[in-house]
Symmetry: C2
Subunit: 408 residues, 2 copies
C-alpha cells in the first residue's frame, strides 16, 4: 500500500491512511506500506539544496553534488515512515519503519535518479514472520557507494511496485488524490466513467499522454513483473481501478480511454531539400537544445523537396525556433511555420489490435463535427491527432460518445 | 568543529559556519564537522512523534516506540549535514556528509538516549586520505539492532567529543551562541571575565550548576579521553575558552567561577523520629514521584528527633509536597516547612584542593553583607550555599570581587 505526499500531508491524514492499512491487516494480509514525504517537504529540501549550492548573488553554476542532494531530500520519507509506524502501533498494528538502506533497496549509483537493481527481502520477510508489518520510506535506496540514493521525482510509486514484485505481493495499491483511472477527463466530459480494470499497455499510453495518475516508470515495472496495481483514493472508501494484464480483463472495450494534451504546437519546416541525413540535421540540434519532440510527419514533394512537421509542447517553441534558426544554414529550409494553437487528442485501447477500422471511426466522427485533423500518428494500441485547440472539448466529448464510453 | 542548532538555523548561518571551517582547512587541518539540526527542527519532529503516538482526544499512554522516535528526529541532522557539505563544496572545500550509520557511530540499543560504544574511524580516515573533509550528523548513531539511534538532547556535543577522541584530534571546537565560559553570569556582574582556560572538573561543576554552555556528558567524555575542548561563538571571531587538563593551566586561580541557580526551594521536615531507614522513607517516595533532590542536610536533636532539610527547584515543590504528605504516616514528621524564596550560589575552583580556608572566606564575605546562609554543601572543588533569593545578585557580585575574578 503506497501513500503519496498529499495522503500523508499531516498527522490527521497519516492516521486516515493508517486506518486503511489496519483494515487490510485485519483481513489477514502481511502489509508493506510505502510512504512519500509529507506534501511540501521535498520541495522545501530541494530549495535548501539549491540555496546551499548556489547562494544568492553568487555566480555559481547551479551544479551540486547529487549524493548530498539525496542525503538531504531522503530525510522527508524517513520522517513519514517513522510517523506511520508510530500511528500504526497506536492502532495496535505491529509495525516498524525501514529506510531504503535498511531493507536494503539496492540501486544504481546515479544519485538523484537512481534505478532499483535488487531488493533482497530476507530482512523484511523475517520481520513478517514476527508479525511486524513494514513501513518503507519510498523514493530512496542505497547506492553501490554505500550512500543514500533517490529515484527521482515520483519515485515512491516505483519503490512500491518494485517491493511488490520482490515480495510477490498479491496486489500493489497506490493511494492518491484521485479515485481511479477514467475513460477521459471528467472535467471535460461529465459522463466520464471510472474504469474497473485497464491493461498495463493502455495505462502506459495514458500515463505518457498526461493522465498524471501513475508514474510511467512504475507502470512499466508493474507490466514487466506482472504486479497487479490498483489506483484508488486516500480520501474515500470506493474501489479504484486495477491496472493488470490484459488477459485478466474479460470485457475488453475496443477503446478504453480518450486522452488529451492541451498546450501543443505544430512546427513545419517548409521545402527542405530531401537528402539522406536531413532528419538528423533537423532533430540533432533540437535534441541538443533539450526540445522534446513528440509527433513527426514527413511529406515528400515531387520537386525533391520535403516538408517536415513535428509537434512539441508550447513551452518549448521558443527553444525549438532558436535551435532551428541557428541550424538554418545546415538544414537549408525555405520557411518555418509555427502553429501554437493546437492540441492532441488520443484514443487508446488494447482492442484496436484485433479490430480494424478504429482509426477510421475516429476520423469520421471528428469530420462530422467539422474538426480538421492536422497531424496523425498511430501505434498498435493508440491513435493520436493534432487539431485546433478550440475544438478540444468537442473532440473529447464526440469520441467519448462514438466509442461508447459513457457511464450511467 | 561542532555547530549547534542556532549556528546552523538557516542557510546564511550555515554559510557563516562553513567559512570558519574553510579557515581551519586553509590552515592545513583535516576537519571533521559535527552539526546539529537546524534550530526548531528537532522540536517539530518531537511534536510530530507525540502527536503520532498520542492523538488528540485519545486516552493513549503517551508511550511510543523509541526506535521510531529516533528514525524521525535523526532526519534533522541528516538534512543539515548534507547542506553543510554542499556549502563547503561551493566554497571549494572538498567535503562529504556522513550519517551516524555510515561512519559508523556505534551505540547501545537504548533508543532515545543511547550511549556511544565505539567509533571505528577507518572509513573517515580513508576519505581524509582522499582530501575529503567530513561532515557528520550529530546526535545520532546506529544501534546493535541496525537501526538509527539518538543520544538524547544535546547529544551533538557528545558526538563531537567522541569523534575527536576516536580520531585523536588536536582539538574539539564547540561553536555555540556564547563566546566562552565566564567567571560568572555577565548579566549579573558586568565585570565578569571570559576565562581563557578552565579545567575539566571545574567545567563539570559549572555545567551541572546551570551554566548551559556545554552538555555535562560531553565534558565527562572529554575529561576521560583528554580531548581539549574549546567553547567559542559562531557569531564572532574571538578566541573562546579552552576546557582542558588542569596541568595545562599555568596560572590557576583558587576560585575559577561563581555559579548561581535562581529558582530553588528549601523543604524541611520538622521533628522526624530519628531511626534507621528514615532517609530512605523520605527520599524513596520523592524519587518515585520524580523529584530531583539536590542538597540534603540533617540536624540531629537531643530528643531523638531529627530535622531533615533538602532542596529542589521550585517547579518540583508541589510534586514533593504531595509525595511527602502521602507518606506522612510512614515518615511520621511533625511539620513540613517550605521556603521557596531561596537561590543557590556556588564557588568552583580546582585551587580549593590546595588552599585551606576558601569556604571560610566565602562565608565571611556573605556575612559582611548581612546575607544569611541557610544550607551549605561542599565538594572537593566546590562550595554551595542556599540564601534568600533577594540577595542573589549581591552575593554573586560580592564573591566575584572577594575571589579576585574581575576583568579590566
Amino acid at each position: 500500500m503506497k501513500f503519496g505526499g498529499t495522503s500523508v500531508a499531516d498527522l490527521e491524514r497519516i492516521r486516515n491512511a493508517a486506518a486503511k492499512v489496519k483494515r487490510e491487516v485485519d483481513r489477514g494480509y502481511d502489509v508493506t506500506v510505502v510512504v512519500s514525504a509529507m506534501a511540501g517537504e521535498t520541495n522545501k529540501f530541494v530549495e535548501f539544496v539549491h540555496d546551499a549550492a548556489c547562494p544568492p548573488g553568487s555566480n555559481g553554476s547551479g551544479l551540486y553534488d547529487a549524493r548530498e542532494y539525496d542525503a538531504v531530500v531522503a530525510a522527508g520519507e524517513q520522517v513519514t515512515s517513522g510517523l506511520m509506524a508510530l500511528v500504526l502501533q497506536q492502532m495496535d498494528v505491529p509495525a516498524r519503519s525501514w529506510m531504503g538502506w535498511q531493507v536494503p533497496i539496492m540501486t544504481t549509483g546515479a544519485h538523484g535518479s537512481a534505478r532499483i537493481v535488487d531488493i533482497p527481502t530476507d530482512n523484511l520477510a523475517k520481520k513478517f514472520g514476527e508479525g511486524l508489518h513494514a513501513v518503507v520510506a519510498g523514493f530512496q535506496g542505497i547506492g553501490p557507494d554505500g550512500r543514500i540514493s533517490t529515484l527521482g521525482r515520483g519515485g515512491s510509486d516505483t519503490s512500491a511496485v518494485a517491493l511488490a514484485a520482490a515480495l510477490g505481493a498479491e496486489r500493489c495499491d497506490i493511494y492518491t488524490d484521485v479515485d481511479g483511472v477514467y475513460t477521459t477527463d471528467p472535467r471535460i466530459e461529465r459522463r466520464a466513467r471510472k474504469l474497473d480494470k485497464i491493461a498495463y499497455e493502455e495505462m502506459l499510453e495514458l500515463a505518457s499522454l498526461g493522465a498524471k495518475v501513475l508514474q510511467t516508470r512504475s507502470v512499466e515495472l508493474a507490466m514487466r513483473y506482472k504486479v497487479r496495481l490498483q489506483v484508488l483514493s486516500s480520501f474515500d472508501d470506493k474501489p479504484g481501478t486495477l491496472v493488470c494484464d490484459e488477459e485478466e480483463i474479460v470485457e475488453q472495450n475496443v477503446v478504453s480511454g480518450i486522452a488529451h494534451s492541451r498546450d501543443e504546437a505544430k512546427l513545419t519546416l517548409v521545402k527542405v531539400p530531401d537528402r539522406p541525413g536531413v532528419a538528423a540535421a533537423i532533430f540533432g540540434p533540437l535534441a541538443d537544445a533539450g526540445v522534446n519532440v513528440d509527433m513527426i510527419v514527413q511529406n515528400i514533394g515531387a520537386d525533391g523537396m520535403t516538408d517536415m512537421t513535428f509537434s512539441t509542447v508550447t513551452d518549448q517553441v521558443a527553444k525549438a525556433r532558436a535551435a532551428l534558426e541557428a541550424a538554418r544554414g545546415e538544414i537549408r529550409y525555405h520557411d518555418l511555420v509555427i502553429d501554437d494553437e493546437v492540441c492532441k487528442i488520443s484514443i487508446v485501447g488494447i482492442g484496436m489490435r484485433s479490430h480494424a477500422g478504429v482509426a477510421q471511426r475516429m476520423f469520421s466522427a471528428l469530420a462530422q463535427e467539422g474538426i480538421n485533423i492536422k497531424v496523425i500518428t498511430t501505434s498498435e494500441i493508440k491513435v493520436s491527432v493534432l487539431i485546433d485547440r478550440k475544438y478540444m472539448e468537442l473532440a473529447v466529448q464526440t469520441l467519448h460518445k462514438t466509442f461508447g464510453l459513457e457511464g450511467d
